[in-house]
Amino acid sequence: MSDPIVVGYTATDAGDDALALGTRLARASGAPLEVVLVLPDESRNAIVPPDAGYVRHLREQAEAWLAGAGEKIADAAHHRTHLRYAESFAEGLIATADELGARCIVVGAANGGIRGRHRLGSVASELLHSSDVPVALAPEGSRLLDPETALTRVTTFVGTRPGADVLLEESVSLATAASVPLRLISIETIDLPAGLDTAAIRVAGSEHADGVLGRAREALPAGLAADAVVARGESIEDAVGAAAWDPGEIAVVGSSRLAQPRRLFLGSTAAKMLHELPVPLLVVPRTRATEGDRR
C-alpha cells in the first residue's frame, strides 16, 4: 500500500498523539508518512496589519517544529514534512491530502483536552464534516504508546447505512495491508433515546445484528482472518466499553455525511464512542463510493 498517510501536526500533545498514531499506521501498512503543519493564511486577516517579519519568524519556527517531528519519527517510517498555508488547519490538511492522494489524515482528537477526557477538537470536528479522505483520530495519550507497537487488529463497526460496502472495503484494505485480522462489530443497544443519530452504527434487534454481520462476512475476501461479534449494552458507551479492546488495534466507523449534509457527522455518537474507545478511531466518509476508482 503506497498511498501516503498525512499527519496533521502541531507542536502540542495532540500533535504528538497524531504523529505517534501516524507512525504506527505507516509502519503497519508500509506507507510513507507526510507530516503537515498548516499555518494560518494572512489573507483572512481584516484587522491586524500584516507583518512580513512575523510571518518569516513563524515560518522558521514552524520549520523547527517540523524538524523536531522528523526527529521523533526518526527511522520508524519513511517520512517527509510539509509546511502549508491555509484559511484553517483542516482546510490545509484536506488540500494536502488530496494533492498527495493520501490514504488518510491523522489528527489528535483531544486537542488540548485534559488527560483521560476525550473531546473533539475544532480541527477534528471540521475535518469530520469536510474531509473526503478517511480521518483517523488519535486519542489523548497515543504518544505514550511505544511507536514500535504493531497494529494488531482492525475493528469495524458495521451498520445498515448505505455505503457500508465502502466502509468494509476500507477496513479490508487496511487489514490486508497490515496483515492483521479483521473484527466486525454491530452495536445493539436497548432504550436508545429518541432522535439520536446513531443509525450509522446501530442496528435494532439481535437477529438483525446477526444478519448484518453475516452479510458483511460474506463480502469479505477469502483468506482474511475475520471475526464477527455483537456488542450489547444499555447505551453506546456501555456497548463500546463492554467489547474487548486490544491496545494495538484501530476502530473503523463510517460517516453519515452524505445522508446528513451540513451536519456535523456522527456528532454526539462519535464523542460518546471516543469517550469510551481506548483505541484510535478511523472515520471513513461515504464519498469514496462515488470516487471508488481513485487509487
Binding site: T10, A11, T12, G15, E34, L39, P40, D41, E42, S43, R44, N45, A46, I47, V48, P49, P50, D51, A52, G53, Y54, V55, R56, H57, L58, R59, Q61, A62, E63, A64, W65, L66, A67, G68, G70, E71, A74, D75, H78, H79, R80, T81, H82, L83, R84, Y85, E99, G112
Partner: protein, 527 residues
Amino acid sequence: MTAPEGTPLAPATGAEAGGLSGKGLSAGTVGLIGAIVIGISCIAPAYTLTAALGPTASEVGVQVPAIILVGFIPMLLVAFGYRELNNRMPDSGTSFTWASRAFGPWIGWLAGWGLIAATVIVLSNLAGIAVDFLFLLIAQITNNAEIADIAANPVVNVIVCLLFVLGATFVSYRDMQTTQKLQYVLVGFQVIVLVVFAVAAIVHVASGNAFDATPIDWSWFNPFAVSSFSAFAAGLSLSIFIFWGWDVTLTMNEETKDPDKTPGRAATITVITIVVLYLLLSIALIMFAGVGTGELGLGNSDISDNVFFHLSGPIMGPLAFLVSLAVLTSSAASLQSTFVSPARTLLAMGHYGALPPKFAAVSPRFFTPGYATIAAAIVASVFYAVMRFVSVSVLTDTILTLGMMICFYYGLTAFACVWYFRKQWFDSVRNVFFTFLFPLVGGVILAVLFVTTLIDSMDPEYGSGSSVFGVGLVFVLGVTIIALGIVIMVWQAIRRPAFFKGETLSLDAPPSARRRRQTAANRSEKP
C-alpha cells in the same frame, strides 16, 4: 535539528515547493480597500478623537485644527523613514531591531522599550475608554442615566477594564478573526456616525442651541496663533498620537496585491479620510462647545479625557447611543490590532536575546506570540489599575504620557533611519529626501517635542493637575518608564550579555552600492 539522511525536511519538492513560496509571505492578499480598512481601524478615529480632543483643546485652545494639520507633518516625515527601514529589514521588532542595527544594542533596546511602553499605555487607555462607553451605552439604552456614573467608581471601573483586557487578550492569543465583511461594516459605521455627529453639532450651532456657540474663524487654522511654544509642543505631541497607526498602510508592501501602487494610494486615501474627519469633528465640537472650562467646554478637565462621552448626549439626543457604539467598536478593533504591536516587539526582543527567550515563544496551537501577548496584557492591566487610583484624570494623563513616549521611540526610529542609511544618502535624489532629509527633520521635531514636553510636564499643574511629590504626574510617569527601562536593560545586560555585545544583532550600514540601490529603488520607487 538533525534529520535522518534522505528524508527531506524542507517543504516538499516540485509543485508544492512553488506553492509555499507563492503563499509563504502571503503576497498579494491585501487589496486597496482592505489596506484602507486596516489603516482606519488601526488609527481608530472615534476612539482617538474622544481621547485626544479634550487635552488638545485644553493646551492650544481653538487652534486644534491647525495643530491637527501641523501634527501630520512630523508623522509623515517619520513614516517615510519607517518605510525605508521596513523595506530594507522587515522584522517584527521594528523600531527595536532597526535602532539596534543603526546605533547598537543599548539604544535599540530603549527604542524597543519605548514602543512597548507606548503600546501598553494605549492599551490601558483604550480599555479605559471602552469601559466608559460600555456603561454609557447601557445607560442610553435603558434610559437610566445613573448607570453611566457607575463607570466613575474606581473599583468597578478597574474590574470591568480588566475584563476588557482579558477579552482582548483571549482574542489575540487565540488569533480569532472577524470576517473582512464585518470589519468593513464596522469601519464604515464608525466613519458615518462621526460625520453625523459633527453635522448634528453644527446644526445645533446654526439653530442657536449650542452650549457655547463659537463662530468659526480662520485663525483656528493658524498654528502661530497658539499662545506659547509649550502649548504648541504639547498639542503637537497629542496630534502625533491621533495619527499613530497610520504608518501601517505605508509599510504594507509585499502583502498588497499591487505593491507599486496599493500602499501609496491606501496611505493617501486613509490619511485624507482621517484628516477630513478630524477637522470636521474638531471644528464642529469647538463651534458647539467652545474651549472654555464650562460644563461642556472642551477645556473642562472633568470632561476633556473623554469628550464624546459627555457631548454625545447633548448633541445627538436619542441617537447618542450610536456614538457610544462607534467608539466601542472602534476601541475593540483597535485593542486587537494594538495588542499585536507590543507582542511582536517583545517576541523579537526575546528572539534576539534582549529579553528572556520565553518572550520569543510562539503558541504551537494558535501561532501567535503567546507569552509576549499575555505579558503585555498583564503590564497594561497593572498600569491601568495603578493609574486609576493615582491620577485625578487617568485618561488625560495617560494620553499625555503616551504622546511623550511616541515622540521618544518614533524619534529614535527616525534617527535610526538616517544613521543606518548614512552611506547611501547621496546615491540618488530620492535617497537624499527619503533616507536623510525627511527622517532627519521628522526626528528633530519629535526630539524637540519630547524634550519640551518632558520639561513642561515637571510643572504639577501640567495635564490633569495630578502630581507626585510636587512634580507633575506626566513627568513622573515618563521618567519612571524610561528609568525602569534602563534598569531592566542593565539587568538583562548582566543576565544575557550576548545581545549587548552585538552578537545577535550586529551594527550595520548598507554600503553605497549602485547595483543594490537600483533594485531597492525599483522596488519602492513610488513615494
